[in-house]
């Protein structure tokens, strides 16, 4: 599951993973062939390898053998939510269970790695022009759909065009708005023309919704993916068996079943009882139960999943900067992470960017601390002595964050009233409407897209209605900046702008917490969503 290279290996030493495939094979065969350790070492030293290197080779080689994927077996995943609206049509994917089914039966053009870099999936290469406004994608040859139809550029053009145009109902339409046109060059090459420079285009082509379906179909489950759809009942389950004609090495599991157990306690019980092998959304109250059971593992992936309070800047009381400052200073961030999230989270600084975004995170920005005196000062200056916060359990821990803020506000004489509303209908009726509400955002693959989607002037989901011109200029400029130092400077300036000016109060980021059976190996940990952003079907195996 973890990185298999031992930490003791120094980087300049040759180890097993640096060998060419034929040498790897030799070392493996030698180890398996019953030679004693001494024999192998002798053999290697005779052939001119130093003792340290030889030992190292042997050690990492043995580890690699232990980690060799095993074929066979089946798993059942239970997601947190399903219903009659379950989909196999990628542009309308909205929930974890849709995403995992999509990952099993379809492929994307581009795939995310654990460290948020990308690699080509159905696109073999993806090359920008000089200013990154036009991208050329060479498509993989010899790929076939589950029904035997060969995969070509037409499928790509058709699938991607479904996210564009007036009658498109795609969930990611506005995320992909920078794409102007898809052009077919030949049967295995397409061009993507943008209406602006965007060096982050590849990450957008790896979204859950940008899966490639067969030309002319609307999600009947026939894709090019690692699993073939055997049966699908919305709100009940789907069953998938391994695609034996897959273009890559292919999945290890024979069969996967995807269902949901909506009750959080029942979901954890089913995992521990062994009825299911993968679950998402483990609540903090169940951490101990999972950690104490020896047949299951808690998979806690640090990610920039915000627990946020939106204060609308275009309405009372958010128009008043001091009010927002007061609410930001009253957040006891350390306590939120330690007590509410049980340590499975990180302190946030009222910006949507976390250390999980890598070098784009602005560590220079001073951390806003819990400071009741300052909060009191700002609240008094704002002239408000009470406010109403709309809370729905949209993320695990968000209600507790609000309750903690309420208690701390009471101590300084500020009356923060919590108005509890149901999650049902929340996004249409409360979010972006009521002056103070709660929000959660899944982590986006790049810092730029994360900030653009939520803080770009006039962006569809600018959920605090904070419009800052400088922010808009920087969001655009950073996409064509190639000098890392200058890029970081811009990233920092944007995070500082949000930290000081926007209406967002973000006390903490929560980890993505999932539970898996302990015998699952090779689990991906892409931090963009539950269970390694659902990349697991193709890659895991059972030990």
């Amino acid at each position: 599951m973890k990185d298999k290279v031992s930490p003791e290996c120094k980087s300049d030493e040759l180890n097993f993973f640096d060998l060419s495939p034929s040498d790897k094979c030799l070392v493996e065969k030698t180890i398996q062939g019953g030679f004693s350790r001494r024999d192998v070492l002798k053999l290697m030293m005779v052939t001119g390898v130093s003792l340290v290197t030889a030992q190292n080779l042997l050690f990492t080689g043995q580890q690699a053998l232990a980690a060799m994927p095993k074929k066979g077996g089946s798993v059942r995943m239970a997601a947190n939510l399903h219903g009659p609206d379950d989909q196999l049509d990628p542009p309308r994917f909205t929930s974890t269970i849709d995403y995992v089914r999509g990952r099993a039966v379809y492929n994307s053009l581009v795939q995310h790695n654990n460290d948020l870099t990308t690699r080509g999936e159905l696109a073999e290469t993806i090359e920008p022009n000089a200013d990154a406004s036009e991208w050329t994608l060479k498509l993989r040859k010899g790929v076939v759909f589950h029904d035997g139809t060969p995969f070509t550029a037409d499928d790509v053009i058709y699938s991607m065009n479904r996210h564009m145009g007036d009658d498109s109902t795609s969930v990611v339409k506005s995320v992909l708005a920078s794409i102007q046109e898809w052009k077919k060059v030949n049967s295995h090459e397409v061009k993507c023309v943008l209406n602006t420079s965007n060096s982050d285009l590849p990450t957008l082509l790896g979204l859950y919704q940008t899966k490639i379906v067969k030309n002319g179909t609307t999600g009947d489950g026939i894709g090019t993916g690692p699993f073939v759809l055997d049966s699908f009942e919305p709100g009940v389950k789907s069953v998938h068996s391994r695609n034996e004609n897959y273009w890559r090495e292919g999945a290890n599991l024979d069969l996967i079943e995807i269902t949901a157990i909506t009750d959080p306690v029942a979901r954890v019980n089913a995992l521990i009882a062994g009825d299911v092998q993968l679950i998402n959304q483990v609540a903090p109250s169940a951490f101990r139960q999972i950690e104490e059971a020896d047949n299951v593992t808690l998979l806690s992936t640090p990610a920039a999943v915000q627990l946020g309070i939106c204060v609308l800047k275009n309405a009372e009381p958010g128009m008043n900067d001091d009010f927002v400052k007061g609410l930001q200073y009253i957040q006891d961030r350390e306590r939120v992470v330690k007590r509410i999230l049980k340590g499975k989270g990180t302190v946030a600084n009222d910006t949507p960017i976390s250390i999980a975004h890598g070098p784009d995170f602005c560590s220079e920005l001073p951390q806003r601390e819990f400071d009741p005196d300052k909060a009191k000062f700002h609240f008094e200056k704002s002239g408000y002595s009470s406010a109403e916060l709309y809370v729905a359990p949209v993320a695990s821990g968000i209600e507790e964050v609000c309750l903690l803020a309420q208690a701390n506000c009471a101590k300084i004489g500020f009356d923060l009233q919590l108005k509890k509303v149901p999650t049902d209908g929340y996004w249409g009726a409360v979010w972006m409407r009521e002056p103070i509400n709660v929000v959660t955002w899944n982590m986006r693959p790049t810092a730029q897209s994360q900030m653009a989607i939520q803080f770009g002037p006039g962006a569809e989901w600018n959920d605090t209605y904070w419009n800052n011109e400088r922010m808009g200029v920087l969001l655009q400029a950073v996409l064509s900046e190639i000098d890392p130092a200058k890029r970081h400077e811009m990233m920092c300036e944007m995070q500082t702008l949000i930290h000081n000016g926007s209406g967002m109060v973000i006390p903490a980021f929560t980890n993505i917490n999932d539970g898996i059976a302990a015998n699952i190996m090779g689990m991906p940990t892409v931090p963009l969503g539950a269970l390694g952003a659902l990349e697991w079907p193709e890659f895991i195996w059972l030990s």
């Binding site: 009659p84 609206d85 909205t94 009658d167 109902t169 919305p234 029942a266 249409g428």
Partner: protein, 316 residues
């Protein structure tokens, strides 16, 4: 007379279903947000909302949408789910079977047990058995079913590992595998529904036992068992079958908590999902099934009590 009553009741039943469909339609429409908003959720934008509403025909006025649904319904077409696009008959088909299997198994176990225990308790009022039954049923009535269910899972599935924690069924299961897979929901529901039926049986019979004709029978020296089975039971059967009918209707429409905890795909959960996604045709279809189940079961109960009671059979 009997036929006349039955026909009248069926007519009233159909009228009830019509009224229910109007009420359900209005209530679901009043809820904040429509199906387009719920489906697109946090990622809705004004353009995609408008496009999806047009695609689903939500831009029509509400009364037209209702009439369209009614027309389709009367011709036997349940329509397609607005949220997911699947045919509603497909969504309901398998789940209807699941619900009936579970309700049938639970009824098959709980009704005989309840009537026997109720009778026994009534035959020996004040005995230790009567006290145990009275106390036990009171306890299980007052404990919410999610508590019973979770406790069962904790004991039988997580600690003892005798039974699966969820009722995840496969197609190729034999009857006994099915019984094993369904054991947990069956146990939970039997506990929940039996209590009420036992108490009703006991109370109904004891109530009749106070009447003068029973006193007469006792004075004539008829054994207590015979009095209860031959003379009291048939007079008490009216309220008992009504309680049984209500419990059966509950098993068809109201076991949403048990379905959720054991992840059993049944109709009650489907209706809740429909309401949550504002999927009107789906909600309406479920409402019609539930309403129909109540109408039919209560009708059967009434017929049953009339048939068993000569005084109702031959009214003055």
């Amino acid at each position: 007379m009997m036929l006349q009553m039955t026909l009248r009741r069926i007519w009233v039943g159909v009228a009830t279903m019509f009224v229910v469909s109007v009420i359900v339609f209005i209530m679901t429409s009043i809820l904040p947000g429509d199906v387009a908003q719920i489906v697109l959720g946090q990622s809705a934008t004004p353009e995609t909302l408008a496009a999806l509403r047009a695609e689903l025909g939500l831009d029509m006025p509400a009364y037209l949408r209702y009439l369209e649904w009614l027309g389709d319904m009367l011709t036997g077409d349940l329509g397609t789910s607005k949220a997911g696009g699947a045919a509603i008959s497909d969504l309901i088909g398998g789940r209807f079977g699941n619900t009936m299997v579970l309700a049938g198994l639970v009824a098959g176990i709980s009704i005989p047990i309840s009537i026997l225990l109720g009778l026994w308790a009534a035959m020996h009022p004040g005995s230790w058995l009567d006290r145990t039954v009275t106390f036990g049923t009171l306890a299980t009535i007052s404990v919410p079913e999610f508590f019973v269910a979770t406790l069962m899972v904790l004991i039988l599935a997580v600690n003892l590992q005798w039974l699966p924690s969820t009722a995840l069924l496969r197609d190729e299961m034999t009857f006994f595998e099915l019984l094993g897979g369904l054991a947990m929901p069956i146990i939970t529901l039997v506990i929940v529904v039996s209590a009420q039926m036992i108490r009703m049986t006991r109370a109904g019979i004891l109530n009749v036992m106070n009447s003068p004709y029973i006193e007469m029978a006792i004075l004539k020296g008829i054994p207590r068992g015979r009095i209860i089975l031959r003379h009291a039971l048939f007079n008490a059967i009216g309220p008992i079958v009504n309680v049984i009918a209500l419990n059966l209707a509950y098993l068809v429409s109201g076991v949403v908590i048990v379905e959720t905890i054991f992840s059993y795909p049944g109709l009650a959960k489907l209706m809740i999902d429909g309401v949550q996604t504002r999927d009107l045709p789906l909600v309406q279809a479920c409402a019609m099934i539930f309403c129909g189940a109540y109408v039919i079961l209560i009708l059967i109960a009434d017929i049953g009590s009339i048939v068993s009671n000569p005084r109702l059979r031959h009214p003055k």
